[in-house]
């Protein structure tokens, strides 16, 4: 039977990533930080990218924005933003796209604010550096109004305009970084661990700010993190990464209600509950040398249902229901999009 499930929704894909590989060169061999990932992001959608430290999620973000520094390098792949392959663009063209179409809130952004510059100047810098040339140039007054508008959008009082970063709390600094990211109205924002170092209540405020911004601007987002609870609250779809590969990608409800890949199941089980006390799920971290991954499935050393097939053949991504695909041999027979 030759059934092919087509994309049900008519909205176009803002971002298409195919076979992206980013490797780091080391004396002992290449570290396969991102080892062939594929995913799509629709317009207005929020995708959560989860995984342990070292799984390659931050590297993937850098790869999409072409900010990979040596000894890392993009080995292959396609990153299509609204149809155009970013990896074929020159650095100059890429720089024009960065911030105006694609913005990044990097990890630890709130600690990277320039301590000697007032807030308004830092946001101003972003606007002036990345605004496209010609008729789009804004006057000084327009820039000031824009900055005040941005501060309002992220819920910060106007007097922040004149302040220095050290006068602000962690949550406020993070919201300044969000303001910087939305300054030029990009189509895609990538937020890397934006709430990791924050207190619970502040985290909620920042997360809700992200949601509000998304609603107001209709911007698509990729949220990178390792806190599954937070992901459940703010994203539409989740891609689970392990050791450089995407092992499962599905709508957020499906990830939590039907976690299919053994690793996803492990992640869900290890979330400490606030509702009832139960025994802890103990699990180890990355168990193989990232320079010499085992042949076959990347997860074989930790998988509770590993078989011989897993040890020799790498699994393909199987679509087990609409918009849920799992890279695991166990689902070979339930693949809805099986092609002969």
């Amino acid at each position: 039977m030759n059934t092919k499930v087509s994309q049900p929704s008519p909205t176009t894909n803002l971002l298409e990533v195919k076979d992206l590989r980013v490797y780091y060169e080391t004396p002992g061999g290449d570290i396969l930080a991102v080892d062939s990932i594929d995913f799509e992001l629709k317009e207005g959608e929020t995708l959560g990218l989860v995984g342990e430290s070292g799984c390659g999620k931050s590297t993937a973000a850098m790869g999409i924005l072409q900010l990979v520094q040596p000894p890392g390098r993009i080995v292959s792949g396609e990153v299509r933003l609204q149809g155009k392959d970013l990896l074929t663009l020159s650095e100059g063209k890429m720089r024009q796209l960065r911030w105006s179409k694609l913005a990044l809130i990097p990890q630890g952004a709130m600690n990277s604010l320039n301590p000697t510059m007032r807030i308004y100047r830092q946001i101003q810098d972003v606007i002036l550096t990345h605004q496209t040339t010609g008729s789009d140039k804004l006057s000084a007054d327009q820039i000031k109004n824009r900055i005040l508008e941005l501060l309002r959008m992220v819920g910060l009082p106007e007097r922040i305009y004149q302040m220095y970063p050290h006068e602000l709390s962690g949550g406020m600094k993070q919201r300044v970084c969000i303001a910087m990211a939305i300054a030029l109205n990009p189509s895609l924002i990538i937020a890397d661990e934006s709430t990791s170092a924050l207190d619970v209540v502040v985290q909620r405020v920042v997360a809700q700010t992200i949601l509000r911004v998304k609603q107001m601007l209709g911007v698509s987002m990729i949220i990178i993190g390792h806190d599954m609870g937070l992901m459940a609250q703010i994203v539409d779809r989740i891609a689970v990464m392990y050791a450089g590969k995407i092992v499962e990608i599905a709508a957020v409800r499906d990830i939590f209600n039907n976690p299919s890949h053994p690793y996803t199941q492990l992640l869900i089980e290890s979330i400490p509950s606030l509702k009832e006390q139960k025994p802890l799920k103990v699990t180890e971290g990355l168990t193989h040398d990232p320079r010499h991954p085992p042949p076959g499935c990347i997860f074989q050393l930790r998988c509770p249902i590993v078989t011989d097939q897993c040890r020799s053949i790498a699994p393909k991504a199987h679509l087990i229901r609409v918009e849920q695909s799992v890279a695991c041999h166990a689902y070979e027979n339930t693949d809805v999009a099986r092609t002969v």
Partner: protein, 334 residues
Amino acid sequence: MTKPTRTSRTRDEDKLDTTTSPESAQLYDPDNQDLSQGRTSSLNRWDTPWFNWKLISGTAIVGIIVLIGIFGRFLWDTELVYVGKCPLNLPPVGFENSRGQTGTWSHPFGTENSGRDMLALTIIGAPNSLLVGFAAATIGIGIGILLGFISGFIGGLTDDLIRLLAGITITVPSLLVLIIIQSLVEQIGLFTMATLLAVFAWPGPALVIRGQVMSMRESGYVQMARLSGASPLRIMFGEIMPNLLPYLAASFIGSVSGSILAAVGLETLGLGPQRVPTLGGTLYFALEAAALLRNMWWWLGIPIFILSLIFMGLLLINLGLDEIANPRLRKATE
């Protein structure tokens, strides 16, 4: 790509195939890497980083000069370094002086106008210059370590006093003071000169060490040592000092260079030790006798050349140590 070097200190666990140098582990998020299983080896302290070309070549150059000093005495008659022992004004081998005399193998580096043999001067003088530098740097760093640690660890009034002293010493023009002191003193020996130079060499290291100690004092491992009941002395020398070794080594070499330069400066002005042959002293006599006007280029040239070698060697050692201490300066493929 440099292969890691194995020495006799390798233990059984180290004989695994893939090696990890500290930087490659950093590249791929060390915080969640379980590299204990599988193929890695523990870092041998004599591994790749220390076999740095700059360090090796610099050490080689300085080493050769030291060897010349040690063994030269046995291979060449060092009595020739004194006045009147040789024919005057001979050029080096293969050259002709303005009087038409040619150099001979009995005085391969030539002689100067008081009858001193240049080779003998090199054999005795070069090591002496190194000696002054090392002695001054050792004393200077020694004082610097002591005061820097005390200042950084204890703080308070002691810290203020030491900083004041260091500040004054840095601000006072050292060469001027040294000139004044040495011109007042009749005879000066090598060791005395070294000590005087040390007086001006200690503040730099002391202040940097103080800064490092103050920041390391708050670090997690010092807190852990305190919780383990370690005494302040054990913390200073057991925990903090080892992490300062790369800095100390580089600072030491820098001090040696600086001291040699100061010493040569003083000697060239005629303020160096009179009885002991030194390279700077040779320069003094050469300038006094207007060597260049007499076309006796070897009299100035040879000491300057030797000194240049010394400084170059020390610089290479310093750069090499810097690279070892600061992994970011190493090339990515090393």
